[in-house]
């Protein structure tokens, strides 16, 4: 490469060296180093940060997708958000999704992974991992259809089982009842996501040195004590990360609800994602939909920051 006139000598040439060493000015050097990441920054900026900023801009307008008319309304959409009863329902449903997912997909999966990893036979361990993972490999649409048939009133498998068990009084239209619709969707989601979380925990458990279990056994610790005193502390980082990822995922849930109830009956199973979709694409209220998008962003951003804080705290503690 030809050296330009902007290059400067940096002090005297080393002894015995025929050509003095050339160095770029510090700022130019830093700027040049950006060329390696410029493309990545551009892509991330355009596809991640620009939509976030533009979403906020859109949320301060009302837009008609058919006419293209835009009116600036300031923070009116956010005021409407605060008074929208469906948003409150959706927030509650997202929260219920998060809590139940933590119970089943984090703590339930942790216990199950511990049990599986305690099985002596390698072949059986693999078999159980595969059995629990299979639901995660099925598409949400197919799972939704499957559970629709399970939940059907009168002729569904669930009501059939309840009736056979003498609990016919409990049978109901699980997806058609406002008090159960969201929980029926959450239950399906747990069935589908449980195996994936279990697999992640088995990987974390496999990394725990066997010596620790041997030492615990020599100290007289039984399986429960080993789970509490060895497995749980040694997988704490994975557990913490899973909790945060699960909460974030719960506030971004969309497909499961859309496939099974579309937010009904009477908006009782709406989550923020489906309400955003309905506002934007069914009711032609793109500005308000963008405000709902900002709310989702704020919640998931808070979860992301918590994750960062948790990771840093762990590093400092280590």
């Amino acid at each position: 490469m030809a050296r330009s006139s902007s290059l400067q000598f940096d002090g005297a040439a080393p002894a015995g060296s025929a050509v003095p060493e050339l160095r770029l000015p510090r700022l130019a050097e830093q700027l040049l180093s950006w060329r390696w990441v410029a493309l990545a920054v551009l892509i991330v900026g355009w596809f991640v940060y620009y939509p976030i900023i533009d979403n906020f801009r859109v949320s301060t307008t009302t837009q008609d997708i058919f006419t293209g008319e835009v009116q600036h309304v300031g923070l009116e959409n956010y005021a409407r958000l605060a008074g929208d009863p469906v948003v409150l329902t959706a927030l509650f449903n997202n929260l219920a999704y998060a809590v139940l997912s933590i119970v089943f997909q984090v703590f339930g999966a942790f216990v199950l992974a511990s049990i599986i990893e305690d099985i002596a036979s390698h072949r059986m361990r693999n078999l159980w991992r595969a059995i629990y993972f299979i639901p995660s490999a099925i598409s949400t649409t197919v799972t939704g259809l499957l559970f629709y048939f399970i939940y059907q009133p009168d002729i569904g498998i669930l009501d059939g089982l309840l009736t056979a068990a003498g609990l016919g009084g409990w049978s109901r239209a699980w997806l058609g009842d406002q008090s159960t619709a969201i929980y029926a969707v959450i239950a399906m989601s747990q069935w589908q996501g449980f195996g994936y979380s279990t697999l992640l925990f088995t990987i974390a458990i496999q990394k725990i040195p066997r010596d620790l279990y041997d030492a615990a056994r020599m100290d007289g610790a039984g399986p429960l004590r080993q789970l509490w005193s060895v497995t749980l502390p040694m997988t704490r980082e994975m557990t913490g990360m899973m909790i945060i990822v699960t909460i974030t995922g719960a506030f971004q849930v969309f497909n499961e609800v859309m496939v099974m109830t579309s937010g009904g009956p009477n908006n009782s199973s709406q989550v923020l994602g489906t309400w955003l979709y309905q506002m934007g694409f069914s009711q032609n209220e793109m500005g308000y939909a963008a405000a709902i998008g900002s709310l989702i962003f704020a919640v998931t951003m808070a979860c992301g920051l918590a994750q960062l804080w948790h990771t840093r705290r762990r590093r400092v503690a280590a």
């Binding site: 533009d54 997708i65 058919f66 009133p153 058609g176 009842d177 009956p265 009477n266 989702i296």
Partner: protein, 434 residues
Amino acid sequence: MTRKTTIAALLAAGTALAPAMVPAQAADPAAEVDYSGTLTILTKFGMQRLQPYFTDLAAQYEEMHPDVSIELIQEDDDSIKGKTSTLVASNSIPDIFFSWTGTWGGNFVRGNRAADLTAVIGPDTDWGRTFAPAAVDAFVYNGRNYGIPLYLDAKFMGYSKPIFDAAGVGVPATFGELLSACDAIKAAGYLPVSFGNKEPWAGLHYLGQLLAYNVPRDVLEADFDPATATYDDPGYAAALEQFAAFEDRCTIGPDVNGVSYQTAIQQLSDGKSAMYYQEIIEFDSAARPDTALTADQFGFFALPAPADAAGDPMALEGAPEGYMISSASDNIPLAIDFMKFATSPGHARTLSAPPYGQPSAVVGGGDPETMNPSVVAGLDDIAEASYLVPWLDTVNHPRVAAAWLSEFQGFAGGTSSAEDVMEAVRKAAASVAN
């Protein structure tokens, strides 16, 4: 799609795509056709039974015009609204796209998204004369023609003749007789009416017909417009009360919200229910050679009007459905030529006959020899109807339609009262008017 990508896609769609510039009409519809290029078509024939119709049309047209390529996007009843809105928001509306009549179609006219077709399908045009005049008129906005009607649609109660015979009931002439027939059918051990309201528009179809019977037409039409809507006619409460009685005596009750409309129609086809309230375009799928209920065992009647109802007892819920051409299309004459091809007498007869069973809007577009006799008879009823009341979810402003859909689903589920429904609708109309 993962949750993160879904939300990202929603955000992206809701931001970068929304402030779309509305294009002006690109070409003269009556100009000479250039048989080259690509045509994109968004259809509502996404169901497996209906898909081959447009697929075959496209293949035939491409064979006739080798320089033309046709790309089909086939959606169904549930997905078409969302798909269309997404395409509009991203300024990617296909050359030819499905539209209902009423406010839904009016959105495309209001936004200059639909090409003005008056010169080719308007009054006194050769092509326009080939259609049933009422069907063409249904797509007239501001005195101009914007749509090409493809088929006629209306709602009827389909029933199983063997179950009616087993229960010893005849075709009910009044709403009261229908309720009594339900009691008799239930006593005979059958489900009187299979009804799935998981998709809330299914229940709204019942209400639309009952409103036409109970609310005078001029009041109803004034209420369709948020600017003049009052929703204070006592016919609304009467219609809701009638629906509640119907749901209680004829269906599985509030659990209907957990059943999809497809399951419900299947129950009629399987001989498990005596009746299913369906569109004429579903007659051929309800009773087929491979279903327990065969075509000759299938009968239908209009939902009977309640005695002394204040509205129009001869009204029928339904509307033609058709296609519009994008004003932004690069080749509007070619798109029109394709639709002329699709609505030619031969293709109209194919559309009207099984397995499609979509009664063509073309005059003489159905051959009684090849069509399902029930569809032929249904067309006669449509012709005799004094007023075709449009679907509540497409004739109303989207916000008002959403209020009807959600609150009426709550009413069907027993969690909302008639007052709750009307209050929600009134509030939605007022918020639009303001």
